[in-house]
């Protein structure tokens, strides 16, 4: 029996590229850096169906998954705080980078995550310092150096991410018509963190983002306030099925 034999769930139909959710990520670790994107800049990166809200925070997430339902890989997300329905706020997933093709296709095809492949590195903690990078097509599009702080955060940082759904614009192009997608949906997912073993504040020492004609991080990150701080977490992560917030397919 093939590893992901769920007939007609994903392609190829007899031995799909990935299994159905939930996906489990035991002993994951991540650095989460908060930043503040100016409203006008943020509007440029949000779909028109979502309302830009300047604050409380936007976030960059660099994670290492030593194992998961689809195997080990690393991941980076850029999240923009927004309103997705009147009075309901979430984190729009602007970009995700991953190091594994199964994670790429599952993310795009199930939840609608805007994933691309890249090289992602998250250092071990050494002398209270941590370093994360995302490189793609010979450009270091994200490079973050941070220091772990002794004081514990004044708020449960895991609540800051778990408190908001991740909002995606799931787009599937039409095989016959290039002018409109065959599927366009706003989707939402709530990630869960369990068995948290480490939760520390981070002081961001530097964030650099090199311009690349293939990616859009640098304009956002170089135009934002990046000294807000962040946190480092080690936990078990669960990614369940998502929900359709709004079907925009016409």
């Amino acid at each position: 029996m093939a590893k992901y034999e769920v007939l007609d769930y994903s392609m190829p139909r007899q031995c799909g590229h990935y299994p159905p959710p939930p996906y489990i990520y035991p002993k994951m670790r991540a650095m989460v850096c908060l930043f503040k994107a100016p409203l006008e800049l943020k509007k440029k990166f949000l779909p028109s169906e979502l309302k830009a809200i300047e604050f409380p925070f936007d976030a960059i997430f660099i994670a290492e998954y030593p194992d998961s339902t689809i195997g080990p890989y690393n991941e980076n997300l850029i999240l923009l705080y927004c309103e997705y329905e009147k009075g309901k706020n979430g984190l729009f997933v602007m970009n995700i980078y991953v190091t594994d093709d199964g994670a790429l296709t599952a993310g795009r095809e199930i939840w609608g995550y805007p994933k691309k492949m890249s090289e992602i590195f998250l250092s071990q903690i050494k002398d209270n310092k941590i370093h994360g990078t995302v490189s793609r097509r010979n450009k270091k599009i994200i490079d973050i150096e941070a220091e772990l702080m002794e004081k514990t955060p004044g708020i449960d940082p895991s609540a800051m991410i778990q408190g908001f759904p991740l909002i995606n614009l799931k787009l599937i192009p039409d095989v016959e018509n290039n002018s409109k997608p065959v599927l366009k949906q706003l989707t939402m997912t709530n990630i869960e963190w369990k068995n948290i073993t480490i939760k520390k504040s981070l002081k961001i020492k530097s964030i650099k983002s090199e311009y690349s004609e293939y990616d859009i991080c640098s304009e956002l990150l170089n135009g934002s306030q990046m000294d807000i701080g962040g946190f480092y977490i080690q936990a078990d992560q669960v990614l369940p099925n998502g929900k359709i917030v709004k079907d925009l397919t016409k």
């Binding site: 604050f55 004081k151 000294d227």
Partner: protein, 153 residues
């Protein structure tokens, strides 16, 4: 050394102005709509000793559905009128930085300078209102934070 009596008048003036600023902000009213309806919406602001102020300054904020029903500066040792739904605690110097926008609330929370106690899911749901609580201190006479030497970091 400064005593509570020295700050009482200026503190009471600040609580009145702050409550007025909240009630005159349509943005705060919109963001905090529903706050305190099915749960305890009151908050306690605890300003911990800094510099020449060697006692805690505690204010009880009665907040409900986007409105400020009143703010009471508590006397030393006085209990709040009821158990608050949320507590925000920081040294007076940090409150000063927040009031003058030298630091934003998320920065203060992440660095551990500002401590938030209460239901995190509510804090997240109403995070826009929380940001406005900080922003609206700008509309008050902030001499409570400048009149006394609060020391350095």
């Amino acid at each position: 050394m400064v005593s509570f009596e020295d700050i009482k008048e200026i503190g009471q003036k600040w609580t009145k102005e702050y409550c007025k600023a909240l009630n005159e902000s349509p943005e705060y009213e919109e963001a905090a709509k529903g706050w305190g309806i099915d749960f305890e919406g009151s908050m306690l602001f605890i300003m911990l000793p800094s510099g020449e102020i060697n006692f805690e300054i505690v204010s009880f904020l009665d907040l409900k559905d986007g409105k400020c029903l009143g703010i009471k500066l508590l006397e030393p040792g006085e209990d709040p009128p009821r158990e608050p739904g949320m507590i925000l605690k920081a040294p007076m110097l940090i409150w000063k930085k927040l009031a003058f926008k030298e630091m934003n609330p998320v920065q203060a929370l992440m660095s551990g300078d500002l401590q938030l106690e209460g239901d995190m899911s509510l804090a997240m749901k109403y995070s826009q209102a929380a940001m406005m609580l900080a922003d609206l201190t700008e509309k008050t006479d902030r001499s409570l934070f400048t009149k006394f030497d609060l020391g350095d970091d």
